[in-house]
């Protein structure tokens, strides 16, 4: 077992090694070096043997060397991403460097070159080495120029020019190799045919150059200047190399084809700048239009990107305004957004007078509400005359989303500027983008608000739940039951019991006006007030008067609290009860139902004597099986699908029928009926019920 795993591991290692080897064998660098070594070996072994096969094979090996080097250079460009102008400048630099190099070489090599003719007949190893060195320098130069041209051809190219490119290169290779046949017949004919064909294809390809179109005017002029410099250098170097005693004569010793290829490449270098210039000159008049279009497209792209990112409306509007400013080159851009109450709100990057906005707002609301999605042009002087404003024309773009007008973009222009079809189309699409952006923003805002409210309500419900007693107290002589069903939007209902002492029980049912978090917190305050007051004061009227005084100070003017507060003497069955603005108290005695409505204004409404004078406290004696039912308006105002209310009549009827039931049963009955009544219709207010049945017996007391 152990042994096997070791071999397994070793196998794996071997495999990995093999893979690595394979990879490196095929990798560019190794191939490159391998080919060069192969070439050199070939040359050294058969040094200067005038053998067709050998020299032809040598040149054939050079082709993949150049190919892989060019490929490497292109890969380098992909990493560095030089601009086209930088590439052209690079072209010039290499050219200058090459000329300088040749000049220096000529000077150094002048003694050798003097009697070159004699040397060529019987070349020495020394000459061979020099020839080899220059051959590689030439090859390097050829590769660089080819790489630059290839990169330029393929930038921004949409059409498939690969075929042209391959043909050109193929002809170039054929032309170069045909020089080998010189010895057997006059091959210069072949050389020139292939060479000129390759140049023709090169010219065709040059005309398909696309990258020139996308240059700005400034860049195009730059390119023209660079092209002329390049042309001058190429011509200069062509004249120079025309001299008889040049390095050119050295090259064929090593490689015949290199020199020919070099000549063709020079032809390319000569033709290319000329064609570039022609292209640019033809395109110069339309450059401005293209530039404008490109900037429009870019602006729209930016805008659509920003739409998804911006949360702040001010920022969003500012981005829209900036985009329009860039495209229309107007400095007076306003955006008017119409809110739900159809008020206009203006946004602008300039601080134009309020006066203008007011006038615009009037104009927009009066004149334009009927107009649909059309862009309008309006003469400003018609409605606005103030000395120091330069705006003479207003372009109005309605912002429409889902056929609903949500605002306008207003662009101020001077009289001279004219908008053509194209501009209008662009503005229209900006209008569409902006409308979507603004509407998205509104929707997002709404959902954030909704989430916030839901969180708030959750807190409110939590508060309320903690304030209402979970269980009813078990009190001698009393059968007590209550239920509390909170609404989603917390209604502010409250019930509580206060065990005053052994013999007295106080209880309360209350409803704070309004909903949500404010109702929940007022409710908490109410609980605090009654808890403390019930300890000090012993009759409901006094407690409510004091509670009113406190609440008038602390509640906001819109809010109030309706309350029923009662105290029962458990032994004697005496009940003292007061009502402040609350629903009637149902009193069931011997299957007779009475709605008790002692007068009383809700707490927190008025603080003066009016409250005190209107507050009535009822006193009566409870007998065995007398029932008190307290409820909040959530019960009687519960609705069904037809928006009918449950109402007091239904409630009273149920209570009446419940004669003999215990408190809990009565409440269950009411809830059951309520559920049947409202069915699926959502509950909109808290539902609170409190039933107290007196069980004390008079006879027992005596």
């Amino acid at each position: 077992m152990n042994f096997q795993t070791v071999t397994g591991k070793e196998n794996l290692k071997m495999f990995e090694l093999a893979l690595k080897l394979k990879k490196s064998l095929f990798s560019f660098r190794y191939n490159f070096i391998f080919l060069i070594i192969l070439f050199l070996l070939l040359k050294i072994t058969f040094l200067f043997k005038e053998n067709f096969v050998i020299s032809f094979t040598g040149d054939l090996i050079l082709i993949p060397i150049v190919y892989s080097f060019v490929k490497h250079l292109i890969r380098f460009q992909e990493k560095k991403k030089f601009s086209q102008i930088q590439l052209l400048l690079g072209f010039i630099k290499f050219e200058i460097f090459f000329i300088l190099f040749s000049e220096t070489s000529l000077y150094i090599l002048s003694p050798i070159l003097k009697d070159l003719k004699g040397l060529l007949v019987k070349p020495t190893i020394f000459i061979g080495l020099i020839s080899g060195f220059y051959t590689f320098v030439y090859l390097l130069f050829i590769s660089i120029i080819l790489a630059i041209l290839t990169i330029l051809f393929f930038t921004r190219q949409k059409k498939n020019i690969e075929r042209y490119y391959k043909t050109t290169i193929f002809l170039l290779i054929l032309g170069s190799l045909s020089s080998h046949f010189q010895k057997y017949f006059d091959a210069s004919f072949l050389e020139y045919t292939f060479g000129s064909l390759s140049v023709v294809f090169f010219i065709l390809m040059s005309y398909l150059n696309k990258w020139v179109i996308y240059l700005s005017r400034k860049e195009k002029i730059k390119v023209i200047i660079i092209c002329n410099i390049l042309l001058a250098i190429v011509i200069y170097s062509m004249i120079k190399s025309g001299d008889d005693t040049g390095i050119n004569d050295l090259i064929p010793i090593f490689s015949n084809a290199t020199l020919t290829a070099y000549k063709f490449i020079y032809a390319f270098a000569f033709v290319y700048p000329i064609i570039l210039q022609i292209l640019i000159i033809f395109q110069l008049p339309v450059t401005e239009v293209i530039e404008k279009k490109t900037s429009e497209v870019e602006s729209l792209q930016n805008l659509s990107q920003m739409i998804s990112k911006v949360l702040d409306i001010e920022e969003l509007v500012s981005i829209i305004i900036q985009t329009i400013e860039r495209i229309t080159s107007s400095r007076d851009v306003f955006i008017c957004l119409i809110d739900e109450k159809s008020n206009c709100k203006f946004y602008s990057n300039i601080s134009e007078s309020r006066n203008l906005f007011d006038r615009l707002s009037q104009l927009l609301t009066s004149k334009l509400n009927q107009t649909n999605e059309k862009i309008l042009e309006i003469d400003v002087n018609e409605f606005y005359s103030e000395e120091n404003h330069q705006i003479e024309k207003l372009i109005i773009i309605p912002l429409v989303y889902n056929k609903k007008l949500i605002g306008y973009i207003l662009i101020g222009k001077d009289r001279a500027s004219i908008l053509d079809e194209d501009d209008l189309n662009t503005l229209k699409s900006i209008g569409e983008y902006s409308a979507i952006a603004i509407q998205n923003h509104h929707l997002l805002q709404k959902s954030i608000e909704k989430e916030r409210l839901e969180k708030e309500l959750e807190v409110a419900r939590e508060v309320q739940k903690k304030l209402i007693p979970e269980n009813t107290p078990s009190i001698k002589n009393l059968d007590i039951a209550h239920t509390f069903i909170p609404a989603f939007e917390v209604g502010g209902d409250y019930i509580d019991y206060f065990q005053l002492d052994e013999n007295y029980l106080g209880f309360i049912i209350a409803d704070v006006s309004g909903k949500g978090i404010s109702a929940a917190f007022y409710m908490a305050e109410v609980k605090g007030i009654f808890e403390s007051l019930s300890k000090i004061l012993k009759n409901p009227k006094d407690i409510l008067i004091q509670a009113n005084k406190i609440l008038c100070k602390s509640l906001d003017r819109k809010s109030f609290v309706s309350v029923v507060y009662a105290i029962i003497d458990l032994q004697k069955g005496y009940l003292r009860i007061a009502r402040a603005g609350h629903c009637p108290i149902l009193f069931l005695k011997n299957s007779e139902l009475v709605e008790l409505i002692p007068s009383g204004i809700a707490l927190g409404l008025i603080s003066n004597e009016l409250f005190e004078n209107n507050l009535e406290e009822v006193f009566f004696e409870l007998e065995k099986n007398d029932l008190l039912l307290l409820y909040t308006d959530g019960v009687t105002e519960a609705r069904n699908q037809n928006l009918e209310e449950f109402g007091t009549d239904r409630l009273n009827e149920i209570v009446k029928k419940s004669e003999g039931d215990c408190s809990n049963e009565i409440i269950q009955n009411i809830i059951e009926e309520l559920t049947i009544f409202s069915k699926e219709y959502p509950q909109h207010d808290d539902i609170t019920l409190l039933a107290i049945k007196y069980l004390g017996d008079k006879n027992e007391r005596v």
Binding site: E489, D511, S513, G514, K515, G516, D556, R557, K558, S559, F560, S562, A580, G581, H582, C583, P584, I597, S599, G600, I601, A602, L605, I606, L610, N614, D633, E637, L643, E645, H684, D685
Partner: protein
């Protein structure tokens, strides 16, 4: 969603607000804005007509309380008119009849405003 609408009328220096539909915590801000606008423009003699109101919640009632003090110190009043029995019962339970004047019709309310001026 329950509908709620407000329409406004003026009669000399009186403002008559007619309410329609459901006045609850969600629609109360609309009424509040309407009254607040009137009060801000010193239009403090207000009659609220309830003939077409179907429902009023505690939040709806609260709106009137928010302004009554300001309106009265400015020499005006908020008077209610044409209230059906059901709505009146809600007002009555809370104790509003002790604080506000209720009239059967707008005319009666107008007459009352007039007689007070004299």
């Amino acid at each position: 969603m329950n509908e709620f609408n407000i329409s406004k009328k003026t009669f000399e220096d009186l403002n008559i607000i007619e309410l329609k539909g459901y006045l609850d915590a969600h629609t109360a801000p609309k009424l509040e804005e309407t009254i607040s606008n009137l009060v801000n423009h010193n239009q403090c003699k207000i009659i609220v007509n309830f003939s077409e109101l179907n429902y009023i919640s505690s939040a709806g009632l609260g709106v009137f309380m928010a302004f009554i003090e300001t309106v009265r110190t400015k020499g005006g009043d908020i008077k209610f008119s044409s209230m059906n029995e059901k709505i009146y019962k809600v007002f009555d339970l809370i104790g509003f009849p002790k604080i506000y004047e209720f009239y059967k019709t707008d005319d009666e309310a107008i007459q009352n405003f007039k007689s007070c001026e004299k």
